[in-house]
Amino acid sequence: MTLDLLRFTTAGSVDDGKSTLIGRLLYDTKQVFDDQLEHVAEASVRRGGEGALDLALLTDGLRAEREQGITIDVAYRYFSTVALDGSSGRRFIIADCPGHQQYTRNMVTGASTADLAVILLDARHGVLEQSKRHAFISALLGIPHLVVAVNKMDLVDYSQERFDEIVAEFSQFAGKLGARADLVYIPISALHGDNVVEPSSNLSWYENPAGPTLLSLLETVEVAYDHPFQTPARFPVQWVIRPQGVPGAADYRGYAGQLASGALRAGEEVVVLPGGQRTKIAAIDTYDGELEAALAPMSVTLRLQDEIDISRGEMICRPDEAPEPTRELEADICWMAEAPLRPGGRYQIKHTTRSVSAIVEGLLDSVDVHTLQRGDAPQEMGLNDIGKVRLRTSAPLFVDPYSRNRRTGSFILIDEASNGTVGAGMICAPDA
């Protein structure tokens, strides 16, 4: 299956050139409008630039950040390479994530919906602790494609030797990550535009089947939801459509939702969790007519053959591939609140369209974000900590391991007192 929309995230340490890279991508794909350019030109001069356009200024967001001169929250950018006749190219959504350690939560946020991560390194500095952390988080969040962009190649004389050194160093570390993601390295200069959108004669030694530029990679990489017919179908019921007082629709009863994964066909047998009732799909409705099959991530409405009482939070699946409802979970948590996570803590858990209560039964381990080693169970988890915990829920959830399903393997934890989103959870495979 093809999808002409790619969501990717960018991560780098401060000053690695992330803003410049994004600015370069937007500028060289002609997505920058004249009035934006005017702003940037003026601001570049105000900041004492030597007349050169500072492309990094294209992507600065809020005033507080402008004042501090840093990016502190996830910002989303849009560009496309769609030809005017619509014949080629792609739409891109960039989740621009800051790289500081204290903002792990932002990176996790940006990574949660990304199909690809661009991890930026400074060619002079090579692989820093932070770069490793970015790669680790990308892998933890199940991003299927990692691109390590070695930036500022102009400052190392476009040296192939230096590039190879960095690749070797990173590969060694990546082996330990256990990431299933495919990994590509690419030498660039965001400032001068080498290998970003335009190929560069300075880097003619570099070869890549997808083409030499970062953009060629972004345009050709396969996007998630690639194999809907080989993935178990998961349909969390989101909303029940029962028209009242609408002439001609009085008997209508449809279960609306977005397919989290896989595909469902009209006529096939399904089971409803947690009740376990079996029935058949009578029809797959959309506003535009009935469908023979629905694929993730489509939003559709299912009508069922039998009258079963189903409400929001239940899940429709195929009987032979349904998940086992469970009230015990082990999950990697990224903690996002100042107040620590402790054993015994109670939270709201939101998983697909289902919200239940959860108690923290125990902290199982912790990830040292410097060495990326998993260590002993801590007493508590603080802001930006990552570790494995065991949870018990007030009602069953229908889960898959995150490594197999990013939609049904993920959840958020909500603090019932502050209402804040305090944790991001990724469910571990049994005995993982």
């Binding site: 009035d35 702003h39 739409r91 959504i93 939801y225 535009d288 023979e292 993920s410």
Partner: protein
């Protein structure tokens, strides 16, 4: 009945599905949502998405227009007709009422606009009706301060937005818990661009108010923009009213929405023009955003759309 099983999804289908998902989440998790409807292109797309999310049922929320009474008459006519066709309920919250009640003070002078006053009317209406979620048609590509806006954006009991303490938004899991008096703004079109909106209007064959197409109009030029001449508008020295072929890219308040010179009379021509345009939608047509680089951010903090 059309039956398709193509194993591919266009970016518009993906964006559509995401927006429908957001709307159903809000309908399910909030007690009193409302959908803001201006008659503009983004809110026209929102209405179609709501049809896709909830038909054959009725919308589980009313529509609400914050009316400055300085709107283009074509837009108001369109608004009322569309609402009647849909058989949904429209609430009109009037800026004039806010002024009459002393809740808002009319700006004066040739650059007076009711744009800022809308915030007062909107927040009052939200409080009066007890709305806990308000759908808006804003997109992140519109303006830099919006790039960090959440899909579901929390507002405190003063209606304020705090860009520094936004809730993290992970996967497609939205945290809809709020206290009494607080509300959320919800932006199902967050990930759409202006071009996506027009392509969708084209694909869905949606009707839009006539002012989106090139038409002859009495205008005057100010700060490089073409404003519609209307009874009572004050001219500053040297400004002259003349006739020009223009098209609008947004349908805000007449006092601060500029037109662009255009020959695009059909949807296809508009799409082509947008695809090749060199100026952002807001930079070209909204006087209110040109005041300062941080104008939008400041207004958003105060509770603007």
């Amino acid at each position: 009945m059309s039956i398709t099983a193509r194993p591919e999804l266009t970016h518009l289908q993906a964006l559509e599905s995401e927006a429908i998902h957001v709307m159903r989440e809000v309908a399910a998790e909030f007690e009193r949502p409302v959908m803001l409807f201006s008659g503009g292109k983004d809110s026209i797309v929102m209405l179609r998405l709501a049809e896709k999310a909830f038909r054959p049922g009725r919308f589980p929320f009313p529509l609400m227009h914050v009316d400055t009474e300085h709107n283009f008459p074509e837009v108001i006519e369109f608004r009322d007709r569309r609402v009647a066709e849909l058989e949904e309920r429209l609430i009109v919250a009037s800026v004039q009422d806010s002024i009459d009640q002393g809740r808002a003070v009319e700006e004066t002078g040739p650059r007076a606009s009711r744009n800022r006053l809308q915030t007062v009317t909107l927040l009052d209406a939200i409080a009066q009706h007890g709305f806990d979620a308000a759908f808006g048609g804003a997109r992140r590509d519109e303006e830099r301060a919006r790039a960090k806006e959440r899909v579901m954006s929390f507002r405190d009991d003063f209606g304020q937005w705090d860009p520094k303490s936004q809730r993290p938004e992970l996967w497609n899991l939205y945290n809809s818990r709020i206290r009494k008096g607080e509300h959320v703004r919800v932006f199902p079109l967050s990930n759409w661009t202006e071009l996506d909106v027009w392509e969708y209007i084209d694909r869905e064959r949606l009707e839009v108010p006539s002012i989106y197409f090139a038409h002859e109009r009495e205008v005057f030029e100010r700060d490089g923009m073409l404003y519609a001449w209307r009874e009572g508008a004050e001219l500053i020295d040297g400004e002259k009213v003349f006739s020009e072929m223009v098209r609008y890219r947004t349908v805000g308040d007449m006092s601060c929405t500029g037109g662009v010179r255009s020959r695009a009379k059909t949807l296809a021509e508009v799409v082509a023009e947008i695809a090749s345009t060199r100026i952002t939608e807001r930079g070209e047509t909204r006087a209110d955003d040109r005041v300062s680089e941080a104008a939008m951010e400041d207004r958003k903090k105060a509770g603007y759309f």
